[in-house]
């Protein structure tokens, strides 16, 4: 005769076994999907690499033809995501005329719309991703939308918004920080200095003085550091 105690144990065994089987099914499905996506991504990247090299080095006619070829590859969201990742890598590695061409490609393929949609998504990590893409590719039209996020309730969004603004419009964004309320993390601070070191700007004596007169002690310290790292005229 099975007691109540034993009934509970049998029930728990059935639950554990069922969950194990379900999880294993999900594991194998995930493995299949991940393997397929990984192979697909490799194929797309291989094709894109050649097209992007030709685009960067080609003349205007060649670039127009390559855009059409990329558009044919760019039908799915997954492929667009891969392309944006490649453009981000190129932007980080190139400057001058090639960076400008990367940016032009980003706009011609309307990938900025994808990034803007992420920025407008209510989920915080989508906003982060949108800000990261727009600021790395220096899509300055997003400046106003991103500046609305410097007082967002989520800490990560706030921090990334401040850094993204500096990436987009260095001097204007710095002067916006003058009225910043609340604290600034050392990460944000370090990132701002690093961005300005990579893209040096010249602040006038008056601009430095205005930053130094900020109520926020972090902005004050930033102003002194900017002066020290010879960003002041």
């Amino acid at each position: 005769m099975v007691t109540l105690n034993e009934t509970w144990i049998i029930g728990l065994i059935i639950v554990c076994s069922t969950l194990s089987v379900l999880m294993l099914i999900v594991v194998f499905l995930l493995k299949f999907i991940n393997t397929y996506q990984s192979n697909h991504a490799l194929r797309i990247k291989h094709l894109l690499h050649q097209l992007l090299v030709d685009y960067l080095l080609g003349d205007s006619l060649e670039r127009k033809q390559i855009i059409e070829k990329i558009q044919r590859l760019n039908k799915s969201r997954f492929n667009k995501k891969i392309l944006i990742d490649e453009l981000l890598i190129l932007t980080n590695n190139f400057s001058g005329i090639y960076a400008a061409r990367v940016f032009q490609l980003y706009k011609d393929l309307q990938l900025n719309e994808l990034s803007l949609n992420k920025l407008r998504n209510p989920i915080w990590h989508q906003k982060l991703r949108g800000m990261y893409e727009l600021s790395t590719l220096e899509y300055s039209e997003a400046f106003d939308e991103i500046s609305d996020l410097i007082y967002h309730p989520h800490g990560e969004v706030r921090r990334n918004a401040r850094v993204s603004l500096i990436k987009l419009k260095k001097k204007d964004a710095l002067m916006t920080l003058k009225d910043l309320e609340g604290s600034m993390s050392q990460w944000t601070y370090v990132s701002i200095i690093a961005i300005l070191k990579q893209n040096p700007i010249k602040l006038t004596g008056d601009e430095i003085r205005r930053l130094k007169s900020a109520q926020n002690p972090y902005v004050k310290t930033l102003a002194y550091d900017l002066e020290q790292f010879a960003y002041a005229q």
Binding site: E6, N92, I193
Partner: protein, 494 residues
């Protein structure tokens, strides 16, 4: 015929064991669910973090990577080379030669052009006497510092290393671990991101490196180990790090940062008194003491875990070595729990005293003891012929099926997050290991824990024991290195 006393005793033990087992299972499920949320949030955030800014920044805080070394002649040169190639703006590598009896020091001196340097102590943590400090005259190795001291153990060596650096953060590692080249960037990020709360320590996930392809001190290809014992430990490490520590980190109740790789705020570490030489669990004991210090200072703080695999270590492949290792871990846990028993259910220590400490006491420490006494109880009943076989087999099946389910959950979390073991074969291997683990591996772990308790409470043991390491590459035969005369006049100012 069993008397009514038997039924009373049996009722008590049966229900006690069942309640204990169900409570532990429930806690593991909760930890697993919390973990998966924490890992997913981390991975989503990580996609948008630009570590290059920190890499380029002149304001990146200085980190000292401190690695005690004892008789590491076979691999020390390669280990140091891999540490020197870490990607970070401003860091020192501090190798503490803990009175090695082999030619580790001579090899380092020759390979890295070391010459005696001026001694400069930045703090006063206790340690064995230092014989000499060495720096390289080669500009390429300017951030390498070797501290040669008399033997004192790992904790002693770490204290010596900490005293000889002016870095803001110290990363304490095992010298034979392989650290990912961007590990310092990832580990220091939480310190710099926090505004309202002080970050005092971060830890990274440790993975098993047995049979991985290693070249120039870097993992080139991740493979599952071929040795069965190492496979069991791979699954165990996945479970512990992915499910356990991430959850505790999210709850801010983490009691341990792995001794293989952890990053600490140096000022807090020193104020807490540094590493304690008297314990074999110095890694756990330090974290608990640092946390206790912050509670006593009434300051808000955090200990954070990063779920990225940042450190790869060699696991024991023989049962004897594994038993010694787990024995030491058990004794270390006991020593820490005893030293800090004031925290037990003490609301002054909040989650640490009300949840973390009791969990470690009643489950991490006590679970093997409950199993062992459960086994003894079973043997007594067997001798007396009073075993309720039906109930016993049901209970055994429940425990086995739960253990297997937890392993399946671990594999699922691994596939959802870090997919470092490629191919269907790896999943099938891990599943096979999950089926065998409760039968073959778990008894060894329980035995080691029981022995650890015996050694601690009865034999009063307090030493480390030895661990045989094979190294990641082929081990060259020991060369006969002549001792190198060190010119007394040629020193370098730090």
């Amino acid at each position: 015929m069993p008397s009514s006393l038997y039924y009373d005793i049996a009722f008590f033990f049966n229900y006690s064991i069942l309640v204990y087992a169900c409570t532990l299972m429930f806690i593991y499920i909760i930890l697993g669910i919390v973990s998966i949320g924490a890992i997913r949030a981390h991975l989503k955030k990580r996609k948008s973090v630009n570590f290059d800014n920190l890499l380029r920044s002149p304001l990146a805080p200085k980190i000292a990577v401190i690695a005690p070394a004892y008789n590491e002649s076979a691999t020390i040169i390669e280990n140091i080379r891999s540490l020197l190639s870490l990607r970070y703006n401003d860091f020192d590598i501090v190798i503490v030669n803990d009175g090695s009896k082999d030619d580790s020091l001579e090899k380092m001196i020759r390979a890295y052009d070391l010459i005696p340097a001026k001694r400069e102590s930045f703090s006063n943590l206790p340690h064995a006497p230092i014989r000499a400090i060495y720096r390289s005259k080669n500009e390429a190795f300017r951030n390498l510092l070797v501290v040669d001291k008399e033997n004192g153990g790992k904790a002693d060596s770490l204290n010596a290393g900490i005293n000889n650096t002016n870095a803001k953060y110290v990363a304490n590692i095992d010298v034979d671990c392989i650290i990912e080249d961007d590990a310092l960037l990832r580990m220091v990020e939480p310190f710099l991101q926090e505004i309202d709360v002080k970050m005092i320590a971060t830890g990274g996930v440790v993975r098993i490196a047995n049979d991985c392809e290693v070249r120039n001190g870097r993992i080139i290809k991740v493979n599952l180990p071929r040795n069965l014992l190492a496979l069991f430990q791979t699954l165990e490490y996945l479970r512990a790090f992915l499910l356990g520590r991430m959850a505790w980190s999210r709850l801010n109740g983490l009691l341990i940062i792995s001794g293989a790789f952890g990053l600490f705020d140096k000022s807090i570490l020193i104020e807490a008194g540094g590493y304690k030489k008297e314990t074999v669990g110095e890694d756990m004991e330090l974290v608990v003491r640092m946390r206790r210090l912050m509670h006593e200072r009434k300051e808000r703080y955090k200990v954070h875990y990063i779920p990225d695999p940042l450190c790869w270590t060699e696991s024991p492949t023989s049962i004897a070595t594994l038993i010694r290792q787990r024995n030491r871990w058990t004794r270390g846990t006991i020593e820490t729990l005893l030293d800090h028993r004031i925290m037990m259910f003490n609301p002054r220590f909040r989650i640490l005293g009300l949840i973390s400490y009791p969990f470690w006491l009643f489950f991490e420490w006590m679970a093997p003891l409950v199993e062992f006494f459960g086994l003894l109880y079973f043997l007594v009943l067997l001798v007396l012929g009073w075993v309720n076989w039906h109930y016993f087999l049901l209970l055994l099946t429940l425990v086995y099926s739960f253990a297997f389910m937890l392993s399946c959950f671990t594999i699922l979390v691994k596939e959802l997050t870090y997919k470092e073991y490629p191919g269907i074969k790896s999943i099938l291997t891990l599943l096979g290991v999950a089926l065998l683990e409760p039968i073959l591996f778990h008894p060894i772990v329980v035995y080691s824990a029981i022995k650890g308790n015996w050694d601690k409470f009865v034999l009063r043991k307090s030493n480390w024991g030895s661990q045989v390491r094979k190294g990641f590459g082929s081990v060259k035969p020991k060369e006969q290195i002549p001792s190198i005369p060190i010119p007394k006049e040629q020193t370098v100012e730090i």
